[in-house]
C-alpha cells in the first residue's frame, strides 16, 4: 500500500508536468491549428533562463521564475510572428515540420549554454521530503501538483470569463467569422503562443527541480507529453489534463511495478509506456478521448 501511494504521488507530479506541457500544445493547436514541435525548445529555454537568473545572477527565486517563464513566452511569441505567421493557410504538416526546424536550432543554442554540467534552478524545495502515512513524499512534488492545479484553474477561468478568453474560443471555432466580428486573429495567435511558451517554460523550470537538475535531456519530457495530448484529443483543453493524468500515473505505476511483474519488457520500459498507452487509446478512439471527430461529408 505504501508503495502504491508512493507511486501515485510520483505519478501525479509527473502528470502535473505533462499537464502544463499538454495544455501548451493544445492551446496553440486550438487557436492557430499548428502542432508546435517547438515546445521542447521552450521548455529548455524556460528552465535555463530561470536557472541563469536565479543561480548565476542571484535573483530571488520567485522573481526569477516569473522572468524565466517570460523569456520562454516571449521567444514563443517571436517565433510565431517571424516564422509561423507567414505560413497561415499552408498545409498543417508543413507548419509542423517548420516548428521542428525552430526546435532544433534553439535547442542546439541552449544545449551549448547549459554545457555538460547539471544546473539547478535554486528552488526552495530542494530534496526535502515529508511522510504522508508511510510514503515518503518530496516537497517539490506537492509544489508541482499545487502549482499545476492553480494554473489550470486560472486558465479555465480565463477562457470562461474574460473577453480575451472568449475571443480565443471564437477564433478556435472559426477564424474568418471572428475576424468579421472584430477580433484581431493575429493578436490571438500571438497570445496563444505566448501562453504555450509560458506553460512549457514553467514545466521546464519544474523539470529542473528534480534530482537530475536541468540537463540537455530534459527536453524529452515535452515529447512524452505528446501522448497525453493525443490521448485527451488534440483540440480538447480538459482532455489535455485528463490525458496527462492517465499518462503520468501509467508511467509511475509501470516504473514501480514492471521490474517485478513484467521484467521481460526490458529496463526503463516506463519511459515508453506513454507511447504504448497512446497507441492503445487511438486504436479504440481515433480522435482521442475528448477530441472532435472530423465531420465527413460525401
Amino acid at each position: 500500500m505504501t508503495r502504491f501511494l508512493q507511486a501515485t504521488v510520483e505519478g501525479l507530479s509527473l502528470a502535473s508536468i505533462y499537464a502544463l506541457l499538454a495544455l501548451g500544445f493544445v492551446i496553440i493547436y486550438k487557436s492557430s491549428q499548428v502542432l508546435s514541435f517547438a515546445q521542447p525548445a521552450f521548455l529548455m529555454v524556460g528552465g535555463y533562463a530561470t536557472s541563469y537568473i536565479a543561480v548565476t545572477m542571484g535573483v530571488n527565486f520567485w522573481l526569477s521564475v516569473v522572468l524565466g517563464v517570460s523569456v520562454a513566452a516571449l521567444l514563443a511569441a517571436t517565433f510565431e510572428r517571424v516564422a509561423v505567421r507567414p505560413m497561415v493557410g499552408k498545409p498543417v504538416f508543413s507548419v509542423a515540420i517548420l516548428t521542428i526546424g525552430l526546435d532544433i536550432s534553439t535547442r542546439v543554442a541552449v544545449d551549448d549554454l547549459i554545457g555538460v554540467n547539471i544546473r539547478s534552478v535554486g528552488d526552495p524545495w530542494g530534496f526535502n521530503t515529508f511522510k504522508l502515512f508511510d510514503a515518503v513524499v518530496q516537497t517539490r512534488a506537492v509544489a508541482m501538483i499545487v502549482a499545476t492545479i492553480v494554473v489550470v484553474a486560472l486558465l479555465a477561468a480565463f477562457f470562461r470569463y474574460s473577453r480575451t478568453g472568449l475571443a480565443m474560443r471564437a477564433t478556435a471555432l472559426d477564424q474568418e467569422t471572428s475576424l468579421v466580428q472584430g477580433i484581431s486573429v493575429g493578436r490571438i495567435f500571438a497570445l496563444a503562443w505566448l501562453l504555450g511558451g509560458a506553460l512549457a517554460g514553467l514545466a521546464g523550470m519544474f523539470s529542473a527541480t528534480g534530482l537530475g537538475g536541468l540537463s540537455q535531456s530534459n527536453y524529452l519530457l515535452a515529447l512524452k507529453a505528446l501522448p497525453a495530448v493525443v490521448v485527451g484529443g488534440l483540440d480538447s483543453v480538459s482532455g489535455a489534463v485528463v490525458g496527462a493524468l492517465i499518462i503520468g500515473l501509467a508511467e509511475a505505476y509501470t516504473a514501480s511495478y514492471q521490474g517485478e511483474f513484467l521484467p521481460f519488457l526490458g529496463s526503463n520500459f516506463s519511459q515508453v509506456v506513454p507511447y504504448v498507452v497512446m497507441v492503445a487509446v487511438l486504436l479504440v478512439r481515433p480522435y482521442g478521448l475528448f477530441g472532435t471527430k472530423e465531420v465527413v461529408r460525401v
Binding site: L35, A83, P86, M87, K90, V92, F93, S94, V95, A96, I97, L98, I100, G101, L102, D103, I104, S105, T106, V108, A109, D111, D112, L223, L226, P227, V229, V230, L234, G266, S267, N268, F269, Q271, V272, Y275, V276, M278, V279, L282, L283, P286, Y287, G288, E294, V296, R297, V298
Partner: protein, 367 residues
C-alpha cells in the same frame, strides 16, 4: 511532335517515365557525371556521396507514403532500423557475439526490404484508422517503442554503446568492402560502395517512378488529395494505405541495411526521432511528391555538413573562440534552412528548379 515537346497526344506519352527528350538528355548527362565523379573525388567526399545515394533511396520511400499517398510518417527511422538489423543479422558472422547467419547479399538485401515491408504492412492497419496529425504522432510513438526494443535486444543489436557490425557486402563472392579490380579497373573500397549505391538508386528510383505513374500511384494521389472522394471513386482506402506503407518500408529497409556499411558500426541509438526528422526534411526540402526532388533533398541534407565545414573558415564569427563548434553550427543552420525553405519555397528544391526552367523556356519573354 517536334518543336512542341509539351504537347502530349496520348495517355501513353503523358504518363511516360520521362516525358520529353530533354529530360532523357539531362538524365544521361547526370549519370555520366556521376560515373566520372568517383575517379576525381577524395575518399572522404566519396563516402559522403555514396551515403547520399543510399539516403536518397530511403527518402524516395518516405516520399511515396508521405508525398504521394499523403500519409505523414515520422516513423521512418524505425523502418530503417528494421532493415539495418535484418541485413546485419542475416549477413553477420555466425561465430560472433551477436546474431549472425553469414548469408550472401543476394539474400539479405531483398530480405532487409521485405522484412521492413512486412512490419510496415503490420503497422498500416493502425494508420488506416487515423488521419492527419494523429497519424504523425502515432508514428513518433513507433520510433520510441522501436528504440526501446533495439536497446534491450542485446543479442541482435549489441546494446547501447557496444553496437554491432552492419551488413557485409559480399555479393556472390564479390567483395564490395575490399580493394580490387572491377572490369579491369582497380578500385578502392569506397569507389565500389559508391557504384553499388549508384546502381541501387537508379534501379529503385525507376521502380518508384513506375509505381508513381501507374494505377497504384494515381490511387495514392487520389487518397492524398481527398480520401473520401477517392473511396467514392472506388479506391480501396485500406488496401492502398497498406500498400503505401509496405512499399515505403521496403525502400527504408533496403536503405537502412546499407546506410551504416560505410561507417562500419551501427548503434541502437542511431535510430532516434532525429533520423526520422532528417528524412522528412529531405522530402520537404527536395520537393513533396517528386522522385527527383527526394534525391535532391537527400543530397542537400547529406552534403550540407560538408559545405558548412568548408565554408565555416571564411565566416567571421566562427573563427577562434567563436563559441560554436562546426557540428553545432551545422545543426542550427539545418533548422534555420528548413524554416526558410518552408516559408519561401513550399515546393522545395524541385520548385526552384521548376521556376528556373520555366524562366528560360520563355526567355527572352519571361515575365
Amino acid at each position: 511532335m517536334r518543336g512542341r515537346p509539351q504537347l502530349f497526344t496520348s495517355y501513353q506519352s503523358d504518363g511516360a517515365m520521362l516525358r520529353t527528350r530533354v529530360q532523357w538528355l539531362w538524365l544521361a548527362l547526370g549519370l555520366a557525371l556521376l560515373v566520372w565523379l568517383p575517379f576525381v573525388l577524395e575518399r572522404s567526399d566519396l563516402i559522403l556521396v555514396a551515403t547520399t545515394f543510399v539516403a536518397a533511396v530511403g527518402a524516395i520511400g518516405l516520399n511515396l507514403v508521405t508525398g504521394y499517398a499523403g500519409q505523414v510518417s515520422l516513423g521512418h527511422a524505425f523502418f530503417l532500423a528494421v532493415g539495418a538489423y535484418t541485413g546485419a543479422a542475416l549477413s553477420g558472422d555466425p561465430e560472433g557475439s551477436v546474431i549472425g547467419l553469414g548469408l550472401d547479399m543476394v539474400l539479405w538485401l531483398p530480405a532487409a526490404g521485405l522484412v521492413a515491408a512486412l512490419v510496415g504492412a503490420l503497422v498500416a492497419p493502425i494508420a488506416v484508422r487515423l488521419r492527419g496529425l494523429y497519424l504523425a504522432l502515432v508514428t513518433i510513438g513507433l520510433v520510441f517503442l522501436g528504440e526501446h526494443v533495439f536497446r534491450n535486444w542485446r543479442e541482435l543489436t549489441g546494446g547501447i554503446g557496444v553496437g554491432r557490425e552492419p551488413a557485409r557486402l559480399n555479393l556472390a563472392g564479390f567483395h564490395f568492402d575490399t580493394e580490387g579490380e572491377v572490369f579491369g579497373i582497380s578500385m578502392i573500397r569506397e569507389q565500389k560502395i559508391y557504384f553499388l549505391g549508384l546502381v541501387l538508386l537508379v534501379v529503385m528510383g525507376f521502380m518508384a517512378k513506375n509505381i508513381a505513374r501507374s494505377r497504384i500511384g494515381r490511387a495514392f494521389s487520389a487518397i492524398r488529395d481527398r480520401d473520401i472522394a477517392a473511396s467514392v471513386m472506388g479506391v480501396d482506402l485500406t488496401r492502398y494505405k497498406v500498400v503505401a506503407f509496405a512499399v515505403s518500408s521496403f525502400y527504408a529497409g533496403v536503405a537502412g541495411s546499407l546506410l551504416f556499411t560505410v561507417t562500419g558500426f551501427v548503434d541502437p541509438t542511431s535510430f532516434s526521432l532525429v533520423l526520422s526528422v532528417l528524412y522528412i526534411a529531405m522530402v520537404v526540402i527536395g520537393g513533396i511528391a517528386t522522385i527527383s526532388g527526394a534525391i535532391m533533398g537527400a543530397a542537400f541534407v547529406t552534403l550540407l555538413p560538408r559545405f558548412i565545414e568548408l565554408g565555416s573558415g571564411s565566416i567571421w564569427f566562427l573563427g577562434e573562440g567563436g563559441g560554436l563548434t562546426t557540428g553545432q553550427l551545422e545543426r542550427i543552420l539545418f533548422g534555420v534552412l528548413v524554416v526558410v525553405f518552408l516559408i519561401a519555397e513550399p515546393l522545395g528544391l524541385y520548385g526552384i528548379w521548376f521556376r528556373i526552367r520555366n524562366y528560360w523556356k520563355a526567355w527572352p519573354f519571361s515575365y
